[in-house]
Symmetry: C2
Subunit: 346 residues, 2 copies
DNA sequence: GTGAAAGCGCTAACAT
DNA sequence: ATGTTAGCGCTTTCAC
């Protein structure tokens, strides 16, 4: 690369000061009373020499990088991939780039990533956290680092966050199942349980069952570590099947669990929904094509991202966030397909 | 944030020079003959003051940011989401962060993104390009910007790239169909056609057909713009169906086309594979659960990323890349499931 | 209306 | 074996 043209080159070739050029670049010329004529002259020269300010130098000087960090548990999970895409789009429109980090549900890795991103001076952070406590975020608050939590959050949370109505969604799922006369359910979730989405979904489902006088036996409350999902689900289903005691329905707490559950149900040729019904939290377009098609609670991904980025942007631009906007809970929908509808008994 | 401790603070409090501290930080102390004792002293002070070098300043000074850019057409497409995840992992192990950009199949947007990333001084680029010519990349070559193309590439390509055997994979699909006695096929692809994966898959499929003496009528060579996929596929299928002239099989050129095709086939209650068979390029775990399960050509995503990152890393660290390693073509597999196997005629 | 000059925190060529 | 010094390219305070 031949030496790039710098701001100084522009100034020199025009016989003006670097200040002047800088002001023009940052659209502060007018407010500083620089004549329109001079501004034009500078702008033309910039075009002519195809000058692009060195963002690194700017960033170094101002401490701002026009970059935001996005931390999720796994960017290859469709749910988070879609989140990433939406956030990227909103960011792009405002001139921000996004750095992605997959935490693998590992609180320590997540902390490392936060540190790394801050050290790289990202201007803000959007996080779907795998932590078990709010410490990191309280610290971000204290140090005034713009950030917003999405998807998962903490009860004692001061940080702006946008989540969905996990509790309500799970209740909808339960009511849907109960309304068909089912009484025996198994829940498939991931551990650790401190993840708010998981515990809220668990809580919502259980609360509806309680109202209906149903209880889930401990052995049907299946929890699998993130990375052992396949084997745990497989073995649990086999065990149930062999004992001959099967629930009437499975409630799976995220899209991965749902498809994995279907996979092993099919493997054993267990008929869904005839023998067991299935409904999951988190919808995927593929659930429409599976055999049977899968019922699910659908989250408004685009809205989550829209609100989250808006919240972040307000912080980045030092706008006041009204306190009632700091905590956003979006409604979810239930999509009823084949997997959760028991065939009518004759 | 209270003023962060800087390298100068360390130097000052220890009564040594900034150079010394800098050398220690960058592990160049020993090769410069700094005594172990002094090094230890410095390291302890760094720990004590919890000093973290300002990456922005370092980057500004060295022109390196320990960041790479990843440009794909759409990060929410599962294929690219998985690519992103794999790249991110390899990058993380080497201390690199990754900035993601979705180009929306738009050559201009992609160019803008390349410029933006370079301006942000990413150290390297991994790109699945939507361009119709290699200009941008020739330029990257001339200016010695570390980069590698993946997935899609150009015929007159000097840049290191890793692709899969799209031609061969499509031939496998064709042969599989032909071997069952089918003769009439429709291809569903996306425009623009200059995308190498698309044209190679098209070419491979056609070449096998030609050998078998089959031709695809123009009207069965369906091309849809990226953003009109749904409607084009829907209407094409309806049109075929109404005319009463249906192909014996569809070959869809990527995972989105495949699932969209299945969607509209099902909508019309057209039986797959009985009435039409279906096989697609690019496998998805969900294809195992669809009704019917979908046959597909599977790409070795992890290997693509492994090789791509390796190629990039060699450039980043100024290692020589043997010329035979600059062009990597990975083999693909065919996964035969229900959708492409015609029921035996009695 | 415009410019001079200091300095952000770090690295590296050059001294000693 | 360690230190001095000159910037990297930009923003910003203050001065004219």
């Amino acid at each position: 690369m031949t030496k790039k043209t710098s701001l100084a080159d522009i100034a020199l070739s025009l016989g003006v000061s670097k200040t002047l050029v800088s002001l023009v670049i940052n659209n502060k010329a007018t407010e500083h009373g620089i004549s329109a004529e001079t501004q034009l002259k500078v702008k033309e020269k910039i075009k002519e020499l195809n000058f692009q300010p060195n963002v690194l130098a700017q960033g170094f000087r101002t401490g701002k990088t026009k970059t935001i960090g996005l931390i999720v548990s796994d960017i290859s999970n469709i749910f988070y991939a879609r989140i990433a895409r939406n956030i990227e789009d909103y960011a792009w429109h405002k001139g921000y780039s996004v750095v992605i980090c997959s935490s693998d549900e590992d609180p320590n890795k997540e902390e490392e990533q936060i540190k790394l991103l801050l050290n790289r001076k990202v201007d803000g952070l959007i996080i779907s956290s795998s932590q078990d406590k709010a410490d990191s975020f309280n610290q971000l608050n204290e140090t005034d680092v713009p950030h917003v939590l999405i998807d998962r959050c903490f009860s004692d949370m001061k940080s702006p966050h946008v989540t969905v109505d996990n509790y309500g969604g799970a209740r909808m799922a339960a009511r849907h199942l109960l309304s068909q006369g089912m009484k025996n359910f198994a829940i498939i979730s991931i551990s650790p349980e401190h993840i708010s989405t998981i515990s809220d979904r668990l809580g919502g489902f259980q609360s509806a069952l309680k109202e209906a006088g149903c209880v889930i036996p401990e052995s049907w409350n299946i929890k699998s570590p993130f990375d052992k999902m396949e084997s745990v689900i497989n073995e649990s289903i086999i065990k149930m099947y062999q004992t001959g005691k099967m629930p009437e329905a499975f409630f799976t707490l995220n899209n991965n669990l749902t498809s994995t559950c279907l996979k092993y149900l099919r493997k054993l040729s267990i008929k869904v929904p005839d023998e067991v019904a299935l409904i999951g939290f988190d919808d995927l377009k593929y659930f429409e094509y599976t055999q049977p098609s899968i019922s699910a609670i659908e989250q408004p991904i685009d809205r989550i991202c829209e609100r989250a980025f808006d919240l972040l942007y307000k912080q980045l631009t030092k706008q006041e966030i009204p306190s009632e906007e700091r905590t956003i809970v979006l409604p979810v929908d239930i999509i009823i397909r084949e997997s959760s509808v028991k065939p009518k008994k004759v």
